[in-house]
């Protein structure tokens, strides 16, 4: 038996997989003061559902896979360790400058972001390596020891080291590591070239400082998680979800906690890729995960999940960029809790301000007064006041109507339903714009992709989102409300190794490249025989980051072969590079040479024999209705068909206007949309127009 738990901002999602492959999904409230309690609560709910003791349930488990926002929360709230930063002399303001850039050019009310490590905990070390690895200035060990003395006096709890060109010649960084071990034993440190061997010093430095600052906290979290699970009866292996859409052993996560920064959201596209394939045989997908306050968009392009080094800790350009490879997820402040308001000029706005979980939408009756997207769906009859979250929370329709009337309908001169519809329309457009910005950057035409609607609130407006994007098909997986947990269950044990080695196609250094690839492969083989031992199967994928001369940004191109045995192999890479450039940027320059900057190998070990992700059949609890009055802009109020999601048979179809409901979600099918239940359990919607 396997457990996959994703701790989100509001809910902790659990999916339990029985040995026969059947899945069951549960939700518990997230407990920010002690997130592990929320994890154990979710297991308790699962145990109660089966009528057995929690200990007995956990004892059956062999794998516990955990996605957590603990790392990113610690970074956002400044709850990380006191960290020092050692850098090449003459570059002490590296974390202050970052890479430049700004948003909102006329907004001078936003302060310049503080460096991730304060300047007074940054120590410049006399040393300098050149671009080709030659040492221009030898390492001043005395200066390192002096810095260590100051760090001790300051009470520093973690250290990051980033020297210029350590990716080419790491001797100075390694020596500083040895001096830290010797003179500051027990204080965790991160060497930038080990953690994130990428060119662009700021990105290495940023990753190293974030990683070091998380080591004390995440080390403790992982140890506590393991011991509390053990105490509670679990005797299996504990894995954590990484930002790169893989899983690693919890103790490895503690060693390089930057891997856990985007733990959770990175899993949605893993699940999305699976459902796109099994339900629609599609290789391109837009994967949306709708929460209460954030809307996360990720992609699947030709069966691969695009990644980026440009993941921001907060608002883009107002926070550090991690510089660490991570699944490309675009996040905006939009969701069921987004607040609708009308400005003094008479224009409607929805979000980014959110009512959050507390007080939440007006309809929750917890003191919220500002109308939200959820309130709009309720007023339109799309949500059932008596069957929200399976009837566990009764919604206040009158409160929602009043709020929308007073704050939106009256100022706009609209009826209440028209105002609610307008709120959904504006929210939809905000989400569409977020999707378009990531699809344009990654070179995906939405009309050629399907939309995967994940998250509990996805069903409320995803048909309209798909229509606006020109996507013909929307898939709402049955496990969509816990899409990241489902993805965690499906994901492989992975490691990603990168090496900097610069060469050009004009003067291709085949020997040097092959040596680099051999080293990468050896590290992957060690992973397969180490953590990957006993896995069902394993594979290694090689890729190169390359660019045209004069370009400054590289793109990743998979290699067809693990080595360059002949010049023909180089020709294949050139061909693939031009093709990839064409795919992403719509142009290519087939006559041009290319420059290769770095080489990567990703090793994946499959842990799971079956690929399926179907919920076990269950008998619906709570009331079921056949019809409900619901409002649509095209028709006004109509009697919409109401169906229970889990009651629909495979291949059963339903035509809008209709509402498909479960205890976790509601899928709104406006007039013109038709849906079919797939064998995987998904609801596949032909969105119509």
């Amino acid at each position: 038996m396997r457990f996959a738990v994703d701790t989100g901002g509001t809910f902790t999602d659990l999916i339990v997989e029985d040995d026969d492959g059947a899945l069951r999904m549960y939700k518990a409230e997230t407990t920010p003061d002690d997130p592990i309690r929320g994890v154990l609560d979710s297991v308790q709910i699962a145990a109660d559902d089966r009528g057995i003791d929690r200990r007995a349930l956990l004892a059956k488990g062999d794998l516990f896979i955990h996605g957590t926002t603990h790392a990113i929360n610690a970074v956002i709230t400044g709850n990380t360790a006191k960290t020092a930063f050692l850098v090449t002399k003459g570059h002490g303001d590296m974390l202050v400058f970052r890479e430049g850039g700004r948003i909102e050019p006329f907004n001078f009310t936003v302060p310049y972001p503080d460096p991730y490590v304060p300047r007074w905990l940054t120590y410049e070390i006399p040393e300098r390596v050149l671009y080709d690895g030659r040492v221009m200035t030898a390492l001043d060990e005395g200066a390192v020891i002096e810095a260590i003395g100051k760090m001790k006096a300051e009470g520093v709890k973690a250290v990051a080291v980033c020297l210029l060109w350590s990716i080419v010649n790491p001797a100075h960084e390694l020596r500083i590591g040895a001096l830290l071990e010797q003179h500051m034993p027990g204080v965790p440190y991160t060497l930038a070239h080990v953690l994130n061997p990428t060119i662009r010093e700021y990105r290495r430095a940023s990753a190293a400082t974030i990683d070091a600052s998380l080591k004390p906290l995440m080390g403790a979290y992982m140890r506590t998680l393991a011991s509390r699970l053990k105490e509670a009866g679990f005797a299996g292996r504990t894995l954590v979800v990484t930002s790169q859409a893989g899983v690693i052993d919890a103790e490895h996560g503690a060693e390089a906690p930057i891997h856990l920064l985007n733990s959770g959201p990175s899993m949605a596209p893993v699940a999305g890729r699976f459902f796109a394939r099994v339900d629609e045989a599609a290789e391109n997908a837009i994967v949306a995960d709708t929460g209460g306050t954030t809307y996360d968009v990720s992609l699947v392009r030709k069966g691969r999940i695009p990644w980026t080094r440009e993941t921001w800790l907060g608002t883009p350009f107002r926070s550090p960029v991690t510089g660490f490879p991570s699944v490309d997820v675009k996040s905006i402040g939009a969701g069921g809790g987004s607040i609708a308001s009308v400005d003094r000029g008479g224009m409607l706005h929805v979000g980014p301000k959110s009512a959050g979980a507390v007080p939440g939408p007006v309809a929750y009756g917890r003191g919220g007064t500002e109308p939200t997207v959820t309130d709009a769906s309720l007023v339109l009859g799309h949500l059932d006041a008596d069957f929200f979250l399976g009837g566990t929370m009764k919604l206040d329709v009158e409160g929602a109507r009043r709020a929308i009337r007073d704050r939106v309908a009256t100022p706009l001169g609209l009826g209440i339903e028209q105002a609610a519809d307008a709120i959904l329309k504006v929210a939809t457009e905000n989400m569409v714009q977020a999707i378009m910005s990531i699809t344009v950057n990654q070179g995906i035409d939405p009309a050629e992709a399907i939309l995967i609607g994940g998250g509990g609130a996805a069903g409320l407006n995803s048909v309209w989102i798909a229509r606006r994007l020109g996507c013909k098909q929307l898939v709402v997986p049955e496990v969509g409300a816990a899409l990241s947990a489902a993805g965690a269950l499906m994901s492989d044990l992975t490691a990603h190794h990168t090496a900097h080695f610069f060469t050009t196609s004009e003067r291709f250094d085949r020997t040097g490249v092959n040596k680099t690839l051999a080293e990468l492969e050896a590290r992957c083989r060690a992973f397969i025989t180490g953590p990957g031992q006993g896995s069902k199967q394993s594979r290694i994928e090689f890729s190169v980051e390359a660019r045209y001369p004069n370009q400054v940004w590289e793109i990743e191109v998979p290699l067809r072969q693990p080595r360059f045995e002949s010049d023909a192999a180089l020709g294949a890479v050139l061909e693939d590079f031009h093709k990839a450039h064409e795919d992403i940027f719509a142009v290519s320059d087939p006559g041009s040479s290319i420059e290769a900057v770095s080489w990567s190998a990703r090793v994946s070990c499959t842990l799971r024999a079956s690929e399926d992700a179907k919920l076990a059949p269950s008998s619906p609890k709570g009331h079921t209705a056949d019809r409900r009055r619901a409002f649509f802009a095209e028709t006004g109020f109509v009697e919409a068909t109401v169906k229970r999601f889990e009651m629909m048979k495979v291949d059963e179809t339903i035509a809008g206007p209709a509402l498909v409901e479960s205890a976790f979600t509601t899928v709104v099918l406006p007039p013109g949309a038709t849906a079919i239940r797939r064998a995987s359990g998904s609801l596949s919607v032909d969105v119509g127009s």
């Binding site: 430049g100 700004r102 006329f106 007074w120 409607l348 905000n430």
Partner: protein
């Protein structure tokens, strides 16, 4: 306009839902254009420096929507260029595209090549114009830089000038024009790549607007545009009416370079807020005539620079378009250095140096009229840290020419927070990215030995200006030339409302033995192996008296090594102990003796 103002007070007469949806759709189209241009361009000035803009205009040539970009590019200029296009080509057809870079017809300066595409409906009616504008790596100047500061006129400047020249008809290229450019513009394949990227961007904008009209209808789009302008104007009126009446004149002077008067170019800007009329006026007419150098303003830059000073000063949430622009009156004079240039006056450097000397006094004057609005002055450019390097790369036996973007800070102190450090210059607003040390050293035979902030170079204030940057670099394995035009070594960025001025720029050469050789404010400097150039950029001005700065903020700057304890004491009146604690009693005494108006050492 009066009706629009009334609508703000009561329930709006606008369709508030359509405003929300369509403004977002048009901005989305601009973003898509911008992303396309950014991702497909070949030159670093576009894909690193982000020196480009994309916008949409109505059939009447009113600015409707803009992708977030450097302000000096877009506020005024696109409208005038579209008007030129209509005037010179009365019959516009679907499939047309125009190349425009004439500063005498609405372009900012000749390096900003612009592609205009008229969006034509199925009946052949001109409905909108989409515009993609990008600073070129080269524009055919007589010297290898796009900023020809000392050119006496457009002939000496040397750029090819295109006053709305048709480059495509029926979507087919006019190869004559392409070949002309290829014969005159350096690194022609790079120009060609950027040219195609701009055409591609404009065509995407065209395609998206046609699709939007297909979905929504042309007439609805036109109605929306009218309402969007009225809504934006009403927002602007609301903001201006809340300001006090006032009139302030400030002067900001560009340092002298060859071709300017010996004292440089002083710019007098008079700002008048008329709340009762809901109007802000900027008068630039009381200034000297055009000069025999490349620093003259184009009309587009003179107007945009004045507007930047105002928009930087007020509620940033007011949309910027032809509607809000109705409430800004900028008075210019023909033949004036900061006015409307007459051909063949050179406007080669119109987007940066003197333009900054317009925006800066305007925003500082706004602050003088009312506490809590406006900004101090931003620092000036171009120090050698953002200069152009050239030489031969011995590793590959090939020549290189490239503008460095290693660091220019210069942000101004603001009413409620410290400066944005990396603003570059006021017209850029910090939109520029910065070079990676390692990427530059990999691409060019050079070593960059320092890039840090320069202590005690901030314009002190209640909210301080940015510190200057200190950058040191030189050639590796060969020689190198460094070209730059550095303003701000004599006339530093001024503070406002009692804030102090920022540090002045400076540059010098470091010999092999470490000796310092002073360098002029503008030059082309040869460097031999082992020699280095040091560039100190300008700091930004401070806002409000330094003696009102929160002592904790002063302490943080001292701990960071950005402000020395001596300066903390003398300028901010804050006593800091060697253990980095605030000595509250000594601070009270110091501040008491200095009075509220500021420092002793101003």
């Amino acid at each position: 306009m009066a009706t629009a103002a009334k609508q703000v007070a009561g329930a709006s007469g606008f369709d508030g839902v359509r405003l929300a949806l369509l403004s977002n759709r048009f901005e989305g189209i601009c973003r898509k254009m911008a992303n396309t241009l950014l991702r497909t361009a070949r030159s670093g000035v576009i894909n690193i420096a982000h020196d480009f803009s994309c916008s949409i205009l109505t059939a009447d040539c009113d600015l409707l929507a803009v992708a977030e970009s450097l302000p000096i590019h877009v506020l005024v200029g696109p409208d005038q260029m579209a008007r030129t296009m209509k005037e010179f080509h009365p019959v516009l057809k679907r499939g047309d595209a125009f190349l425009h870079n004439s500063p005498y017809h609405g372009c900012s300066h000749p390096a900003d090549h612009t592609i205009l595409v008229p969006v034509i409906d199925d009946e052949g009616r001109h409905r909108f114009t989409v515009l993609a504008k990008a600073h070129q790596a080269d524009c055919g100047n007589s010297i290898p830089t796009t900023y020809n500061g000392t050119a006496r006129d457009v002939y000496e400047e040397g750029a090819l000038i295109f006053p709305a020249v048709r480059v495509q008809r029926d979507y087919k290229m006019n190869d004559d024009i392409v070949r002309m450019c290829q014969m005159r513009i350096r690194v022609p394949e790079q120009w060609w790549g950027d040219f195609l990227a701009m055409i591609g961007s404009a065509r995407i904008g065209e395609r998206e607007i046609l699709a939007l009209a297909n979905e929504i209808g042309w007439d609805t789009l036109s109605e929306f545009a009218t309402q969007w302008f009225d809504y934006s104007e009403a927002r602007m009126v609301e903001v201006i009416k809340a300001l006090p009446k006032g009139r302030v004149t400030r002067t900001s002077t560009h340092d002298p370079i060859p071709g300017t008067p010996p004292g440089g170019i002083p710019v007098n800007a008079t700002v008048e807020i008329k709340p009762e009329a809901g109007i802000i006026e900027v008068d630039l007419r009381d200034n000297i005539d055009s000069q025999p150098c490349g620093l003259n303003m184009s009309e587009a830059c003179a107007r945009s620079a004045a507007m930047i000073g105002v928009y930087n000063s007020i509620d940033h949430r007011v949309p910027k378009n032809a509607g809000s622009h109705r409430r800004l009156k900028v008075h210019l004079r023909e033949g004036c250095v900061v006015g409307i240039p007459k051909h063949p006056t050179s406007c080669s450097v119109a987007t940066t140096n003197v333009a900054d000397r317009i925006s800066n006094p305007v925003q500082a004057a706004m602050a003088e009229i009312k506490d809590g609005i406006g900004l101090a002055e931003c620092g000036a450019i171009f120090p050698p840290s953002v200069g152009v390097i050239s030489g031969v790369d011995e590793r590959y036996g090939r020549r290189y020419v490239n503008q460095l973007l290693l660091g220019s800070t210069g942000g101004a102190g603001a009413p409620s927070c410290d400066a944005w450090m990396t603003i570059c210059h006021v017209g850029n607003a910090g939109m520029i990215r910065m070079d990676s040390i390692e990427i530059d050293e990999l691409r060019f035979p050079m070593v960059i030995t320092a890039r840090v902030l320069q202590p005690d170079s901030e314009g002190a204030g209640t909210f301080r200006g940015a510190l200057a940057s200190f950058v040191e670099y030189g050639p590796l394995g060969g020689t190198m030339e460094v070209a730059y035009v550095s303003d701000g070594s004599i006339n530093a960025a001024q503070g406002t409302r009692g804030g102090l001025k920022g540090g002045a720029s400076n540059q010098y050469k470091l010999d092999r033995d470490g000796g310092q050789q002073p360098l002029p404010a503008t030059g082309v400097i040869p460097l031999n192996e082992g020699e280095r150039i040091v560039a100190i950029s300008t700091g930004g001005g401070g806002y409000g008296p330094p003696t009102l700065r929160e002592p904790e903020r002063v302490l943080a700057d001292v701990r960071s090594g950005w402000v020395t304890p001596e300066r903390a004491r003398d300028v901010y009146g804050v006593a800091i102990t060697p253990g980095f604690e605030i000595d509250q009693d000594a601070t009270n005494r110091l501040r008491g003796s200095m009075g509220p108006s500021g420092a002793r050492s101003a």
